[in-house]
Every structure is written in structure tokens, then in C-alpha cells.
Amino acid sequence: MTSEGKYLRMTKNERIQHFLLLSSFITLVITGFALKFPEAFWVKWSIFIIGKNAFEVRGVVHRIAAVVMVAGSIYHLIYVIFTKRGRKLVKDLWFYRTDITDLRDSLMYIIGKRNERPYFDRFSYIEKAEYWAVVWGTVVMGGTGMMLWFENYFLPIINVSGMNIATAVHWYEAILASLAILVWHFYFIFLNPDVSPMNKAWYTGFLTRHQMEHEHPRELAKIEEEMLERTTESSEKTE
């Protein structure tokens, strides 16, 4: 436990990665749905503001955001392979048997059949689902997006029906991802009573003790244990 009650959640590197992801994701959502709902009021407004070439601008921005997201994802891949903290991240995000019991306990807790919350570690099943959904989504959206972007290259390969499938998948996955972020991620970082009004870790990098106690008690315990060991060691040394 640090004296200020701050527990490192995201390093600066990770915060930059997260920021690239969030900004490109939001951009992609806006510019993507603007294509699908061209008559929506906010699309009309933006067309009005941007002017005659709004549609082309929309396409270019969507592709830039896609490139940023894919580039960020590739960097992330390198990060999780080649850095110690990255490898630990994947290890901590991996699914274990405890996640199933945690899920069960959590469901029992929220429906009132259990008094205690599960004893979550650094990443709960909620966050793990979140992470892997992003991985899955990025691969699907990136893949289908590339097909649509370079349609004249892919058409001879996947044919018109393949193109139609790519279009459909890109569309459904977009809905799924957007709603998932909205319902799942935004709930846990904004509405969630433990962190409300907002979990500031995405830009401070730290969680408070209160948040740690509620959200990541096992991690907190581990940290404190570790610190205790260290203090013991150092005190032993000093002694």
C-alpha cells in the first residue's frame, strides 16, 4: 500500500495504448454509423458542418481511425510478447477455473443469494470478457474492414457474395462491439457505484484503495502481502 492510497493500474505506455484504442474506437463508431444511417439528424448536422465532401471525409477519417486501431493492436501484440509487464498482463487476463466460480458467486451475489462478493484478483471475469471481446472485435472488424476497403483486390478472391458477407459481418460486429462497450465497459467505469462518477485510472493510472477493496480485493491482498514481505525483508536487512 502506497501512502497516498494509490495503486498502479495502468502504466503510461498502457494508458497511451488505451487512449489510442478509445479514440480510434469512438471515431470508428461515429464514422461507421454515419454511413449506415445517413439520414440521422446528427449525420445531417455533421454533413452540414463539414460541407459538400462530408461523405468522403467520413470515409477517410474512418480509415485513418482503423489504421490507428490496427497499428495500436499490433503494438499491443508486440508489447504483450516482448515486455515482462505485457506477458504478465496476458497471464493475468487469461481464463482460469476461478473465473467460473467467480462468475457463479458474482451472479449469486447480485441476485441476493450471497452476501459476499467474489474475491476478485487483478482482472475480474468482467474485465477478461472485455479484453478478449476487444481482441476478437479488432480481428473481425479489421479483417472485414480491409476487405471492404480494398474491395477491388478482394472481389476476385471472395466474390460478390463474400463481399456481402464481409459487409454484413462488419455491420453486426459493429453493433455488437458498440453496444458491448456502451453496456458493459461504460457501466463499469462510469455508473458502477464503486467507481462512480468515473474510474480515473485511464488517465491517472492509479486506483484508490477504496476501489481496490471493492473491485480487486485479492490483488490488494497480494500487494499488501508482498509489501509486508518486503518491509519484513528490509527491516530484517536493517536489523
Partner: protein, 632 residues
């Protein structure tokens, strides 16, 4: 005592004397007879002249003519009573020759204008011919004295040529008269009875009989002595003499001199036909029968106008009679136009020269009636739109090939669209727009298109002709297509969708909902979003030459699909050949797509539903805990 010889001499002398006496007596008669010869001794000299009141007059008398004359066997002295041949002058007492001493039964001259003239003013006693001959030649006799030009020109007149002499009008012989102005029509009417009758019913006569000195009679128009074939004399000048006089016809109303003066600028006046104006006043207004302009019998009243114009313009009038205008007019519609409602009256111009009939101004003539639904009773709201049309704007910019009203509707033969022979009938519109000099290329493209074939072969087809897509009066340039929509593509899509997204039309014609599938495709979404590059309907289907995919000439025929798609998707062109383009995600002919869609939808509902439920419960529970924590 006389001897026998002396006796013989005495007897012989007596006989001789007696013979001499007899001869003398008989010679006296001879002498009298040869008295004429004595006169001719001098008067057969052609150069014999005398001064009479300062004038040199000929005293020559042709003896041959005299002998032949009715007085030929009379002695000079029978008339020249008391003349003394040996004295100069022969007639010192100036005793007048009294014809009446013989001709005591001639009609008196008292009633004639010649009452103060001597008999021999007309009847030359020395050459006097039988009265019959005299009658036959009366004109030349009159002209001996009546030498003023007007009268002299009588010999060039039609009357003279037809052997009608002075006596024809002025009465002959001893009753020769001047003709009073008021009597002229009666005099003329003796021969020209029917014309007189017409004239007596005319406005001219009405005014004349009211005592208007300016009103014309026969000679006012026809002239008097120099009268000629009516057409030759009655040129418009005769009418215009009076009708251009602003004192006689003041103001600028119909009928005024100013109004009539426009005739001078008209095509009727300015072009010539057989050396005369193409149409003079009488050609339209009639001649003797001329009536007040408002009189229903007048030949230029609206109701009779078409007959009057039709005298020369028969083709146009027969076309007009078959036109909508003509039908309405002939059925008594007071609003329907007659000739002059469009062409004007006295100022009528050739449509080729007239400024009013120039293409740019022609619409104004039509719009006099066809605006604000004045006459069309709400059937046509678009006529005024013409002024905003590309056709009109092009004309304004000086493109004289652009269409004005009559180019599409016809002029005299304009008919409503419902008429199968109308230029603007649904089945004829393409030929009208594609007429030579206009949209011939587009017509050739359109001909054979699915729209054209359907329109021409099916009754009540919904298929569009030119105006079906381009509109009619308010037709815009294709460049401006979609101006209101934001892009040309959107304009086209809206246009095609007006039929291809109409449930009624789709059902009636067994069409597919191509608009719906297009609008959900990337092409459609892009265009809806304002893209100016994505394909619209025309990019693939063409515009005028749209054909069904089974037609080998179609741009979407399998054979041509590669080329059509290849315009935008080079290299990818081959893959389109066996692909359906207008598909929806839910289309069952792509089962893989269908199943992926179903799975995704299920996934979305399950995942997001589960997440939502989870979070609602989570929130409730955490809030409950929080509250409990505070309480405790």
C-alpha cells in the same frame, strides 16, 4: 309685112328665149343646188380658219362626210338661213341656227346639265350620223368636251371596256345628268344590284344615311370614271384614306386610326402577292357588306374569324379545328382562342419574323391564358414552371434551338395529352422530344429500352416516357439534377425510386424492390450519405437505354456486366458475371449470409441482453450494499 325668114327668126328667137328661160328657170334650181358646191369651194379647204372671239377655229368641212351625213342632201342655206356667202362674215346678224325648225319633236334639254348647250355642241350637223350610231359612240362624243383627266381616264375603265358608255351612268342623250352624291349607290345599283343591297346593309351606308359627310359611297372607294376591276381599285389605300385619319377615327381603341395603322407593319401589308399586299382590308373585313366590328355578321368577329382567315390559311384552320383550342372554340367555349388571340389583329406578323412569336416571347402569348389556371381549371399547374425550365433559360441564353411551347405542343394542331394523335400523348412524347434538331440521340437510345417497349406495347403501362423522368414544363438540365437533393446521384435515386420504390407500381408490373436493396447497399448508403462518386442507378443501368438483364444490349446483361462494373472496379469485373447485385442480407439465395446474420443477431441479443441484465442487477445490489454500509 313680115317675111317668112323674119318669122322664122322670130320663132327661133322665141324658142331660144323660152329654152333659155326654161334653162334659166331650171338653172335656178341647179344654181341653188350648186350653192352648196359654192360653199365647199371655200370650206373644203382644210386650212380655212377664222377668228372667233380671239380663237382660231377651223372652218373646214369634209364634203364626203357631209354627203354621207343625215343632212347630206340638204343645202347649206337650209340651216345657214340668211347667210350671205359673198359677205364676210356670212352671218352679220349673228342669227342662230335653229335646229328646232325641223327637229321640232326632240326631247327638251331643260332637265339636262346641257340645257344651255347648243344642239351642235354634241351633234355636229355637218357630219351628223344616224342617231343609232351616235348612241353607240356617245362616249367619244362626250370626251370631245370632257377632257379633264379623271373623265378622260374613263376609257381605261372596266366599264368602257365592257362597252358601257357615259350614258350608262349619266343617262344619255338629252337627259345627261350630274350624279348627286346621295344617288351614287342607286346609279351603280342599277347594274350592281346585289352589291348595292350589301352596301345598304353595311355600316358605311348606315353612317351615310345618318348624313355623315365623311361616310363613303361607291366612288369613295372604287373611284368614279377610272373605275377598274374591283381588286385593282379596292386596294387597302382606298380604306386607309379614311381609316388612317385620326380626326375621323380618334383614340387608340379598337377601330381607331392608330389601331388600323398597325396594318402597315403587318405581314399582310408588307409582303406582296401578284403585286398587291398579301391581304388587304377587304380580304378580311369583306367589301360591301362591311359591318360594325361588334356586329355578329362582321367577318372579323371572333366567331367568324376562323372562316375569314381560312380563306387563305386553310391548312392552318383545318388543323386548328382538330386541335383542343379549335374544339373548345367550336363548341362555344368563350375562353377558347381564335386566330387573333394568338396572332394579333392588324399588326399580325409572320411567326418567323415576329418578335412576339420569337421562341423567347412565344410563351408569353400562351401564358396569357395558361397561367394561374385561368382557363385550364386546375388541370395544369405547371405551365408557369416553363419559365424556370432549362428550355426557357437556354433560350434566354441565346440558344435558339431550345424548345418553346409550340415545339412540343404544336401550334395550330395543339391537342391535349389524352388524344392519341397529340404530340404530347404519352406514346408520342418521345418522338416529340426526339424530333429532328432536338434530342435525336436520346430518342435513339430510349427506343428499345425496357421503358419504351413496355410503354408502347402495354396498355396503361406505368413505364415512363421522356417527361416521366425529366418532367415537362419545369424540365431542368441534367446538371441540375439533384440540386435539391444534395448530389446528382441522390437526384437520380429519388427519381427512379418514385416508381421503383412504389409498392403499387412494383406490384402492378411484377418488379423487384430494387430501390430498397440498392439503398441498403454500400452504393446506396454512400449516395445517401452524400457521396458523389458511388454508383447510382444510371451508373450501372444507363439512363435512356435501360434494358432488362436478359437483353444482350443491356449494360447489366451478363455479357456486359464485367465491363459495366469494371468502370469502377477494374480487375474485379469478371466476378460480377454470376453475381446478383440487388440482394438483401435476408435474401435466401445466399444461405451463408443468411445464417451468419441469424447467428449474429442471436449473439447480439443474448450478449447485450445478458450484459444489461447483469449490470442492472449489479447496480441494484451494490447500491443496496452501499446504503446498508452507511446505515451500519
Amino acid at each position: 309685112m313680115m317675111t317668112a325668114r323674119r318669122k322664122f327668126v322670130l320663132i327661133a328667137a322665141t324658142i331660144t328665149f323660152l329654152i333659155t328661160i326654161v334653162v334659166l328657170v331650171s338653172n335656178t334650181k341647179f344654181l341653188r343646188a350648186t350653192g352648196t358646191d359654192d360653199c365647199f369651194a371655200c370650206h373644203e379647204d382644210k386650212s380655212l380658219t377664222a377668228d372667233r372671239n380671239g380663237k382660231k377655229i377651223s372652218l373646214y368641212i369634209d364634203p364626203a362626210l357631209y354627203k354621207k351625213s343625215t343632212h347630206g342632201d340638204m343645202d347649206c342655206k337650209d340651216c345657214h338661213e340668211g347667210y350671205k356667202p359673198e359677205e364676210m362674215p356670212h352671218n352679220p346678224n349673228k342669227k342662230k341656227i335653229d335646229c328646232k325648225s325641223c327637229h321640232d319633236n326632240v326631247k327638251p334639254l331643260e332637265n339636262s346639265v346641257h340645257k344651255n348647250k347648243e344642239c351642235y355642241s354634241c351633234h355636229n350637223p355637218h357630219t351628223q350620223k344616224p342617231i343609232k350610231e351616235l348612241k353607240a359612240n356617245n362616249t367619244s362624243l362626250c370626251l370631245d368636251c370632257h377632257k379633264n383627266k379623271n373623265v378622260k381616264d374613263f376609257t381605261t375603265s372596266i366599264h368602257y371596256k365592257k362597252n358601257i358608255g357615259c350614258d350608262g351612268c349619266h343617262k344619255g342623250g338629252h337627259e345627261v345628268q350630274k350624279i348627286n352624291k346621295g344617288d351614287i349607290q342607286n346609279v351603280c345599283g342599277k347594274c350592281h344590284g346585289s352589291n348595292q343591297k350589301d352596301f345598304n346593309n353595311s355600316i358605311h351606308h348606315t353612317v351615310l344615311s345618318k348624313g355623315n359627310q365623311n361616310a363613303p359611297n361607291c366612288v369613295s372607294c372604287h373611284g368614279s370614271h377610272k373605275i377598274n376591276n374591283s381588286k385593282m381599285t379596292i386596294e387597302s389605300e382606298a380604306c386607309l384614306k379614311c381609316h388612317l385619319d385620326e380626326k375621323l377615327f380618334p383614340g387608340d381603341e379598337k377601330g381607331s386610326a392608330k389601331f388600323v395603322a398597325h396594318y402597315k407593319t403587318s405581314i399582310h401589308s408588307s409582303i406582296q402577292k401578284d403585286g398587291k399586299p398579301a391581304a388587304g382590308c377587304v380580304d378580311c373585313h369583306g367589301d360591301h357588306t362591311i359591318e360594325k366590328l361588334t356586329d355578329p355578321k362582321e367577318s372579323t368577329v371572333k366567331a367568324r374569324m376562323i372562316n375569314t382567315c381560312g380563306k387563305c390559311h386553310a391548312d392552318e384552320v383545318s388543323k386548328f379545328n382538330n386541335s383542343n383550342h379549335g374544339k373548345a372554340f367550336n363548341s362555344g367555349n368563350k375562353e377558347a382562342p381564335s386566330c387573333f388571340d394568338c396572332h394579333g389583329e392588324h399588326d399580325i406578323k409572320s411567326v418567323l419574323q415576329s418578335d412576339e412569336f420569337s421562341k423567347i416571347n412565344q410563351a408569353d402569348i400562351c401564358l396569357k391564358c395558361h397561367s394561374n389556371n385561368k382557363v385550364t381549371q386546375g388541370k395544369d399547374n405547371h405551365t408557369e414552371d416553363y419559365k424556370s425550365s432549362f428550355h426557357y433559360l437556354a433560350l434566354k441564353d441565346g440558344n435558339t434551338a431550345a424548345a418553346t411551347c409550340s415545339n412540343c405542343h404544336g401550334a395550330h394542331d395543339m391537342k391535349s395529352a389524352g388524344d392519341p394523335t397529340s404530340n404530347i400523348n404519352k406514346k408520342n412524347v418521345d418522338k416529340t422530344c426526339g424530333q429532328s434538331g432536338c434530342h435525336t440521340k436520346e430518342l435513339s437510345e430510349y427506343t428499345g429500352s425496357v421503358h419504351e417497349v413496355s410503354l408502347m406495347t402495354k396498355e396503361n403501362s406505368d413505364a415512363p416516357n421522356c417527361v416521366g423522368c425529366h418532367g415537362n414544363h419545369q424540365i431542368k438540365s441534367t446538371d441540375s439534377l439533384g440540386n435539391a437533393e444534395g448530389s446528382r446521384q441522390r437526384g437520380i435515386i429519388k427519381l427512379c425510386s418514385s416508381c421503383h420504390a412504389s409498392v403499387k407500381i412494383i406490384n402492378n408490373n411484377n418488379l423487384k424492390n430494387v430501390a430498397g436493396t440498392y439503398l441498403e447497399s454500400f452504393h446506396g448508403l454512400a449516395v445517401r450519405g452524400g457521396s458523389t462518386q458511388a454508383a447510382d442507378c444510371g451508373s450501372c443501368h444507363g439512363n435512356h437505354n435501360i434494358r432488362t438483364s436478359s437483353d444482350t444490349l443491356s449494360s447489366i446483361n451478363k455479357r456486359n456486366l464485367g465491363k459495366t462494373c469494371g468502370k469502377c472496379h477494374p480487375g474485379a469485373s469478371e466476378v460480377f458475371i454470376n453475381s446478383r447485385i440487388h440482394t438483401l442480407i435476408t435474401d435466401e439465395d445466399n444461405p451463408m449470409l443468411l445464417w451468419i446474420s441469424r447467428i449474429y443477431i442471436l449473439l447480439i441479443i443474448a450478449t447485450i441482453g445478458g450484459m444489461t441484465l447483469h449490470n442492472i442487477l449489479d447496480y441494484r445490489r451494490k447500491m443496496k450494499d452501499k446504503k446498508a454500509g452507511k446505515e451500519s
